[in-house]
Amino acid sequence: MKKKWLSIPYALWALIFSIAPLVIIAVYSFCSRSPYGKIIYKFTFEHYRKFMEPIYLNVLWRSLLLAMISTVVCLLVGYPMAMIISKASLKKRNILMMLFVLPLWTNFLLRTYAWMVLLRDQGPINQLLLSLGIIDEPLKLLYNTGAVTLGMVYNFIPFMVLPVYSVLAKMDECLIEAAKDLGATSTQVFLKITLPLSMPGVVSGIIMVFMPAVSTFVISDLLGGGQTILLGNLIQNQFLVARNWQFGSAISMIMMVLIVIAMTISSKYKSEDGGGLW
């Protein structure tokens, strides 16, 4: 308790750059708008009501759907990967982890641009398929929902692998031996022991993938080519293009509420089950 003052720098930081902006956004979202976009401090629900129009709800639905699909793909690909890494020998484990984390050190934008190069009509993938004679004309790989999902999975999969791996690596090997000793086959061991015990990691992974996926706008911008409008793009548009900060703030608030709900559900789930990353 004596060291309380040590937290002051961080508290200040959080206050200025997290809490204050949050409050400002919350206030803006209830403010009226002048015809030229000026903030008028007069209470209104107008922006939230506007969001309930089908066109915006559609965006919300698409965002949720794409985020869910990428999360599921990340889980299906990431879990076995995490398992393989956690079972590998210490030396191999470090190399595998390194390979996994390495892309994170390059800039996020660069990685996404790289995918644009790979996927475009004259890109290496189409070139290869054409030269092999598998296809006659280039496939439309870029600027569609598939490309956006691919980008999300690619960018967010480390956030699934890391928490699952950390739980699996900590798991006591003798629990698995005990289950085998009691007559469980490898499949039964996985379903009854490994999977339930790794749930805290899985839940963390789901949140850590789902949250950035639901709010991303760069990936959908670059790989979706403006064809796939997500919540993130909508907010970005409202602030930078439409100059409707009030509506942008309202959408931000809605997204924040969604994220808080998701976190509460998952943290509840974890506290019942004991342990977890947070």
């Binding site: 031996e177 005990a178 000793d181 339930p196």
Partner: protein, 347 residues
């Protein structure tokens, strides 16, 4: 057919380039309580894991009820294990832990209920069904681990230092309880420990191991009273081990004194090793003993005093006695023939 339930024949195990077990031959009878005893790294746990099927022997065969089981995986063996750290499943409650093996065998729910209840009664934890594992004490977890293994009605129960994490008092209580449980369920227990007292207390037979080899197999009394070599003598209990020379049957020379003993069958003048347990030496007045010495340390141990006496040739005798001698006192030592145990050199 023989009545051995588990047999190991010429088992060797090599990890990397290190031989952990060499040429282990072992036969374990039905309903026997057998203990593998040895210091850490002697290969006792590896032996147990080979019996359980968690480890493959590099060479040699494992037989279960006369059938070779080298390649049978653990889940198909009628053997269950109590692990060192209990290995209870933290996400399941007590009932689910004990029922785990039965559920896998798809046994009827009512039967499972009944059997789990019976097991909890056996380990004295009635009514603990819905408790969480992390709400149990070490001793209780230990009992659940035993119940979880026994509920499957194995023919052999393997126990890997199951009492290692408990405090002394609890450990002693559990030793007696384990022995009782074994007698009640009437199956073979194969127990691994480095605690010689534990081994002597519970076992029908003790297998003393060192550096991957079996040193001696025998009843606890035999192991204690008739150790075959210096290692066993030293590891089991405490003892004074000296070089000696067998002059003839029933006569041994140690510390330049000729003492009568009860051993025979050695060559004339054969060099031997001699074991005298500290509690078998009597301290008498200086001139009444077979040897003279001076008390150089006295430690109170509760039941007895542990004294060190230096004899005229400089050997330090360790002596346990309920009578205290003063430090610095000149004393005589008496060793009766029965107390002298002769071991072949290099055995």
């Amino acid at each position: 057919m023989n009545d051995y339930i588990v047999e190991l024949k010429n088992i060797s195990k090599i990890f990397g380039d290190k031989a952990v077990l060499c040429d282990i031959d072992l036969s374990i009878k039905q309903k026997e309580f057998v203990t593998l005893l040895g210091p850490s790294g002697c290969g006792k746990t590896t032996t147990l894991r080979i019996i359980g099927g968690f480890e493959h022997a590099t060479t040699g065969d494992v037989y279960f009820e006369g059938k070779k089981v080298n390649d049978i995986p653990p889940f198909k063996r009628q053997i269950n294990t109590v692990f060192q750290k209990y290995a209870l499943f933290p996400h399941l409650n007590v009932f689910e832990n004990i029922a785990f093996g039965l559920k896998i065998k798809k046994i009827d729910k009512d039967v499972i209920q009944e059997k789990v209840k019976e097991m909890l009664r056996l380990v004295n934890l009635q009514g603990f069904e819905n408790r969480k594992i992390d709400s149990l004490s070490g001793g209780q977890q230990q009992r659940i681990a035993i119940a979880r293994a026994l509920v499957n009605e194995p023919k052999v129960l393997l126990l890997d230092e199951p009492l290692g994490a408990l405090d002394l008092k609890l450990r002693k209580g559990m030793q007696i309880e384990l022995k009782k449980i074994q007698q009640r369920v009437g199956i073979t227990f194969i127990y691994v420990t480095h605690d010689q007292e534990e081994a002597l207390t519970m076992s029908d037979r003790v297998i003393v191991m060192s550096e991957g080899e079996i040193q001696q197999i025998g009843k606890p009394e035999d192991i204690y009273n008739e150790p075959v070599n210096r290692f066993v003598a030293d590891f089991i209990g405490e003892g004074n081990i000296l070089d000696g020379c067998m002059l003839e049957d029933f006569s041994v020379k140690i510390q330049e004194k000729v003492l009568p003993c009860v051993d025979k069958g050695f060559e004339k003048n054969e060099m031997v090793e001699v074991l005298v347990r500290p509690e078998d030496i009597e301290i008498v007045r200086e001139n009444d003993g077979m040897m003279k010495g001076i008390v150089i340390s006295v430690i109170f141990k509760g039941v007895h005093y542990e004294m060190e006496v230096k004899d005229e040739l400089g050997f330090h005798w360790m002596i346990h006695s309920i009578h205290m001698s003063k430090k610095g006192q000149q004393v005589g030592l008496v060793i009766v023939p029965d107390a002298i145990h002769i071991m072949k050199k290099g055995a």
